[in-house]
Each structure stands twice: as structure tokens, then as C-alpha cells.
Amino acid sequence: MTAVGELELDLDAFEGPFDLLLTLLLKEELEPAEIDMAAIVVAFVERLAERDELDLEACGEFLVLIAALLELKARALFPDEEAELAELEPEEAAEELARRLAEYRRMKEAAGWLAERLAGERDRYFRVGPAPIAPRPERRLAPQDPQQLAASLRLLAEPPPQVSLAHMSLRFPPVSQFLERFRAVLRRRRRFDFDAEVGSLSRVDQAVAFLALLELRKAGEIALEQVSPFSPIRVSRPAARPWSATAPSGQSPAPPPPDAADGTPADGPYSHTVPPAYAPPAAPQERADERGQETRNPSERNSEWIARSA
């Protein structure tokens, strides 16, 4: 690799001696596809012309190298078949080439035959139209009674029953209505039973009444008692109201004041107070859970409802 290797190249993708180009290509630092092979040949031929003598050895070397480069480039242009073809021995590759040529040759001959055939059939005229509409399969019906048809029609002709939309317009009575009512009841009586008082009302009314009850309890106007969950709620006048005067009447949950009336620590604004004597024989853990459920979640929702109905 003397004369050829020192051949200086000035290509778009590479500038330097031919030797270096080969090294870079073999190290795969250059893509063969980027190299203009024709430019290399031109450079070599120009060099030959300058020398004015035919160096057969250099020419031979150059031919071998440029052929190898061309093969590299050609393979890179067909990446899919590269692996397949690269594995082939030269004899196998020649065989494959011959097979493909033969295949194409046969198809070319077949195309020639078709062209001849077409020319021969040029005077055959025939109708080409859209495909005829296929007859629809006949649908057989069971024997029908006209009276039955009339009855079916009559059924359809009847106006549909009026659909009640009553449930769509759910109306909440104002909480204030129940506030007044409970205050009035407590003016007459020391205590009353909540369930007995609202038992005759609708579900929605009962719910609003309960909100009113909570509101009154929050303001300290009443005291609530419930022996156990789901047992009747007893409403009574409070024994003492040390904090009622300062309690805000708004919706924000008031700070839990010490409930001096029954001597038990208050758990929250809406908690039911349970005298120690009536304490159910439940584990402390269970009690805490149950209390949490009854106080926390409804309190959030209740304050929202109050805000809306106010």
C-alpha cells in the first residue's frame, strides 16, 4: 500500500490520504454510503495522468481496493439483505444471483407473453359493467292475523302514562323554620323527644330538622342526649350556657367548649353526650371509631347544607 495509499483525496465527506479513509471505513467511523467512489477513481486517474507512466502494480492494488469499497457501499445500501447475503460463500452468492436473474427473466418472458396476448385480443369487445345486483333472499313470515296487528297498533297508539317528575324538584325547607319550632317547643316543655317531634315529617324535612337541632346545639341553646347509637335523641334546655353568648352564629365549626353541663369532656360541636352511667360496654377503640364516624363526616356535610339553605 504505497503509491495508492498515499493518494491524497479531497472529497465532500473526507479529506486526507486514501490509507486513512480505508482505516476509518474499516473501523466503521465513516459510512460507506457517504463516500463518493467516483471521486476517488477520478483522483486516482488524475494522479496516473500526472505521472505519465503506467504503474501496473498500483493500478491492480487500486482496483482491488475500490472494488472492495464498492461492495461495502452496495451492501450498506441494502441493509435488510446485508446479513443474508454476507453469510453466503462466493459460490452461493453467484448461485443466488443466478436464481434471482432467472426468476426475473421468467417474469419478463411472461410479461412478453401477456403483451402478445393482449395485442392478439385487441379485437375482442365485450361489455364491462358493474356487478349485477344480487337478488335479495326472500324472507318468509309465519301466517299473520290482521286482528293481532290492529291490537298491536292500538297498543302503540295509546298515550304513554304521565311520568312523575316530583322527585326532580327536591325542596329543602329553611333551617330557620325548625329553629323557631324547636325553640317554641322548649319554651313549653323542658325536654322533648326528637323522633317523636319530627316522626310525621318527610325524610327531607327530618334531615333539615336534624340540621336545625345541630345548629341549636352548636349555639348552646339546647343539650342533647342519646343513650346509644340509633336510640331516641332527647332534646332539653341546657342547664347552663357559659359560652353561648360568645359563640359565633355562622357556619364555621365552633371550638369545642368544655361542656360543663354534664361534666364530660366535649369531643366536638355535634357529639352526643353520653353519661358515664349509660356507657355501652364497648371497647374504647370501638367507641372512638364510632364517634369519629358520627361526628366528623356529617359535620362537614351539615355545615355545607346549612350554608345552602341559609
Binding site: 453467484a94 436473474l101 432467472a102 421468467r106 411472461a110 396476448r117 364491462v128 358493474p130
Partner: protein, 200 residues
């Protein structure tokens, strides 16, 4: 040649032949014996017999309408002697401008089909997209499923119209590939002789 059947005027086959005539004149594509048998509500063997009768009645030199066995069925066409007159009024648009590439693609699909565009490209060595599109538009080939595997290429096959345009009774009427020109062995020999000539 008069068949003995035609001598009997009230022959039931003659009556069947008239029914087939009517069906064939309405049809725009070749009708198979099975289709004719179903429409005429008759036996396929008697249909074949009646078609023989009609083929004799409608043949070149005897009638302007010719009954031909084409594309797996039977169809009427104009007689060849009327081709010139037909050509003044009608054209055969299907074959106008069928390029060499289109014909090669068509023969690959006809012989190796159903086959996909990549297969055609592999044999011809160049992309077959426009040739396939042109043949599809002419109705000479049609889609026929996909290659196996996910995202397989669309496969194509020739249509009955292809057989009709080229006057083939069926796809089997194509000549055997072996009868057409060089085989792989011939080419190998030629390659070998070139190689020997070079080294010599």
C-alpha cells in the same frame, strides 16, 4: 355442424338454452355453470349441454354475438369481424397504456399471487408502487389478504377481469413458466461462460 338435439323443435334443452341466452344477455360479467344452473333452476349437466348448443349458434362467422368460455364462466362478446366498427364507438380502457413495468408486475402477480408489493419489488429490483396502483385502478388485480404476522404487507391477486381481458378461460390457462425462455441453469451457464472468457 348441427347437433341432433337441435332437430327436435320442442326439445327441453332448446328451451333451457333460450333461458341461458336471456341470462347471458343481462349479465355484465361471465356466468359460471353453477350460477347458470342456480338461476335456471336446472341440472349443471344439462346446462353444459345447452351451452354447447349456444356456443354453436353464437360463434365467429355465424353471428355478430359470440359466446365465449372466459374467466371461469360464459359471456357474450362482439364477433371479431365487428371489431373495427366497435372500435369506432367504444374503446377498451383497461389496457390503454399498460407499461412494461405494469405487465411485468401483472405477470408476477398472475404467476406467484397472491403476493405483496415487496415481493414484486424483490423480483423486479425496483419499487412496484405505481405499477401496482395502476393495475388496481384498472381492476386487473385486487387485494387478497395480508402477509402473515403483525403489519404484514397487503397481498394481491389477479381478477376475473384480467382473465377476460387476456381471453383466458381461467388462471390455469397461463403458459407454464418453464415454457418461457431461459431457466436458472441457462443463465448460470451464460454467467460461467462470461467468467471463463474474462480469465482466458
Amino acid at each position: 355442424m348441427d347437433r341432433p338435439l337441435r332437430l327436435i323443435t320442442a326439445n327441453p334443452v332448446d328451451q333451457l338454452a333460450r333461458t341461458l341466452e336471456a341470462l347471458l344477455v343481462v349479465a355484465s360479467a361471465p356466468l359460471s355453470i353453477e350460477e347458470l344452473a342456480q338461476a335456471a333452476n336446472d341440472d349443471p349437466e344439462r346446462i353444459a349441454l345447452a351451452l354447447g348448443l349456444l356456443s354453436d349458434r353464437f360463434r365467429e362467422g355465424r353471428s355478430g354475438i359470440v359466446l365465449e368460455h372466459v374467466a371461469g364462466g360464459y359471456a357474450y362478446r362482439a364477433s371479431r369481424e365487428a371489431a373495427e366498427a366497435c372500435g369506432r364507438l367504444f374503446e377498451r380502457p383497461v389496457e390503454r397504456g399498460l407499461s412494461q413495468a405494469a405487465l411485468e408486475t401483472l405477470s408476477i402477480v398472475a404467476y406467484l399471487g397472491p403476493c405483496s408489493r415487496p415481493e414484486v419489488a424483490r423480483i423486479r429490483g425496483v419499487a412496484a408502487d405505481s405499477a401496482v396502483a395502476g393495475l388496481l385502478e384498472r381492476g386487473l388485480i385486487a387485494e387478497a389478504g395480508r402477509d402473515d404476522g403483525a403489519g404484514g404487507a397487503v397481498r394481491y391477486r389477479t381478477t376475473p377481469l384480467f382473465e377476460r381481458v387476456f381471453g383466458l378461460e381461467s388462471a390455469a390457462a397461463l403458459p407454464r413458466l418453464d415454457d418461457l425462455g431461459e431457466t436458472a441453469a441457462d443463465i448460470r451457464e451464460r454467467l460461467h461462460s462470461v467468467a471463463v472468457g474474462k480469465t482466458a
